[in-house]
Amino acid sequence: MTVLFICTNNRGKPNLMDMGSLMIKPIQRVMKYPLLLCELLNSTPASHPDHKALQDAFAAVKDINVNINELKRRKDLVLKYKKNDEEESLKEKFSRLNIHSISKKSKRVTSHLKILTGGEPQVKDQTFNKEEKLFRSLEKTVKFCVKNISFSHQHLQDSMLLAAQNITELQGILHNKDDEDNDYSKMLHNIGNPCEGFVDQLEKLVLTPLSALQALFSGPQKLIQKRYDKLLDYNGCLERSAGDELDLTKKDYEALNAQLVEELQVFNRTAMKIVMNCLHCFITLLRDTMSSAFQSYSTTVVPVPLSSSSICEVQNQVMEEFHNLNFVKEYSSATFIERKLSFEKKKPPESPRQTESQRSKLLSTYSTELLHQAKRKCNATQEFDIDLYEGELVAVVEQKDPFGSTSRWLVDTGILKGYVYSSFLKPYNPAKVQKDVAETSFCDDDFDNISLFTFYAVYAFQARSHQELSLQEYQRVRILQFSDLSGNKEWWLAEVKGQKGYVPANYLGKMTYA
């Protein structure tokens, strides 16, 4: 500062200016030129050779001024609207409402409707429209990209993690503490999560730029809206008024329009580049994720890989072995029936059934009139009662019980002696034995309540081989077995009128009677 002081002091007092007056100098100069040229033009006679040149110069200089003005107007408008719309509370909005703004808005609405119905000549700018369309598509693109990419990467992570987890679990099942040689854990150090490092990369390279870009769309959006308002004003003024008002609206509109057109072009180009870059990064990232997963899976040693059909064979074989295990044989069909019954009965210790030899012993020991047959299965209820299966042969020893009641009889089954109710017994008729023998052979199966269910054919069925049994509609059948020889539960061994054969299970319906 002192140097400046000294300088100015030494050289006398030249043109001393402060910053403000210094800055206004160019503007003053630019404005002086038209005035200067105008004076010059006025004092030049029309016949002078320079007159034309002067006129052109004058026009050019005036143009320059106008341009500068318009440029300034553009920037001012943009600045005004950019600042205005940020964070306005409802109260502030209301306070700005006055007659002027309301009338402005209503004029705009009518203009808008006119444009929609496409009546009068309108002001249009094709370039702007193109840019605007591009702008909107870009916005949509960026929005979609952000949403979809983040979703899909989330899913990718989840699925990879779960897959790795499952392999570890399956390996756990196979793990055999006693047998280290067969231990699969050696083969599988860490599938781990191939995705881990890539999440951060994705964030950095793709999602952050795109989200930032997304945020930038809102500014131009507002200005586009404003431009449209100005357009409406202009349109409205076109047919109605002339002169200053028209001029003003025209200038406003054109200023905003030009500014937007110029800058939107830059915006769109740049945004496009960013989007392309991000997409490239995304694809590269996907490729890298896949290749790292590929690496980690292919390093696990897999013994001879089998095709899927041979896998099925091997597994079916093992399943066969399982089915040969006794507990499966005994109980797998029992569970099948129990599902139908849906309650579990506690089985009392079974009394042995009557064999042929026992029956023949009874027949030989006792005379025919003493022999009776159980009409149905009797369950022992009181002390010294015995169980009887349907059709079992018993010999009546005494027709009364220790208490003197004649409804309970003491009978001999050949193995045990006990009491049964006489109403369960009917006299034994050897002639009917043949038929009953066939019926009682069902007891071989281990189904307690099989007598509760009888089946009938819902549809008629035609036997195609001698192993199958023909059925008529609604014919009652007795089921001997609930599966065929190979364990197929779709075919049941049934018996009708002494004939046996296989019938399809889905042709049969259940008939229950108490």
Partner: protein, 253 residues
């Protein structure tokens, strides 16, 4: 067996030796654990296949949304890139579906079938338990009669009780022996059963990822221009973003 309320029904002497009981518990315990493991794995495999399907659906969504965007009409290079991406995603989807099917066939269904053996096992163990209870009950009855005076009716009852006891005892012994033999067999045969599934699971993943690797490698080669590295792209993005922010029409952050 301390949960039985009536001590009267307990036989005096131990009818099942402790070692046998212990072995039984151990084997059955292993099998119960196996059952839990298979159930859990079944659930998790289902979750995993659902996640796989969801993933490929959302991947296809990315590219199909982009494809339906009007931007594609306006910019041909964008269109080219998006079409290539779309093809790749669709191929990924089909491979994924194939992988899921393969896993379904070779892992999930076998798991289900394996689990279906367990109810029979549990039933068999329950029956054995019931038989054991009856055995104990009858045994204590016999002992009760044995302690009483040897009068006529008592002797008859004792004889009858002994007759009842014999078949039950044989039944229990048979069941016990059978289960003790078969449970270890079942347990060790799971290895043969699941080995193929395990291999197939890994193999399915390997095949899938090989294909994916190839698909996306091809894709990057197809669309990648001067092959900028990630850092270069990042820098470029930053530069472009600041360029945008410098525009007057963009709001100040």
């Amino acid at each position: 067996m301390s949960w039985i309320p009536f001590k009267i029904g307990q036989p005096k002497k131990q009818i099942v030796p402790k070692t046998v009981e212990r072995d039984f518990e151990r084997e059955y315990g292993k099998l119960q654990q196996l059952e839990d493991q298979t159930k859990k794995l079944q659930k998790d495999m289902k979750k995993s296949t659902d996640a796989d399907v969801a993933m490929s659906k959302s991947a296809v969504k990315i590219s199909s949304d982009l494809l339906s965007n009007p931007l594609c009409e306006q910019d041909p290079s964008f269109l080219a890139m998006v079409t290539a991406l779309d093809t790749a995603m669709k191929r990924m989807d089909s491979f994924n579906q194939e992988k899921v099917n393969q896993i379904q066939k070779t892992v999930i269904e076998p798991l289900k079938k394996f689990s279906s053996v367990f109810p029979s096992l549990n039933m068999a163990v329950k029956r054995r338990e019931q038989t054991l209870q009856d055995y104990k009950r009858l045994q204590s009855k016999v002992e009760k009669y044995e302690e009483k005076e040897k009068t006529g009716p008592i002797l008859a009852k004792l004889h009858q009780a002994r007759e009842e006891l014999r078949p039950v005892k044989e039944d229990f012994e048979a069941k016990n022996k059978q289960l003790l033999e078969e449970m270890p067999k079942f347990y060790s045969s799971r290895i043969d059963y699941f080995e193929p599934s395990f291999e197939s699971l890994i193999r399915a993943q390997v095949v899938y990822y090989t294909e994916m690797h190839k698909i996306f490698g091809d894709l990057t080669e197809q669309i990648d221009e001067p092959g900028l590295t990630d850092e270069q792209r990042e820098k470029e993005n930053e530069a472009k973003l600041s360029e945008l922010r410098a525009l007057s029409i963009v709001a100040d952050d």
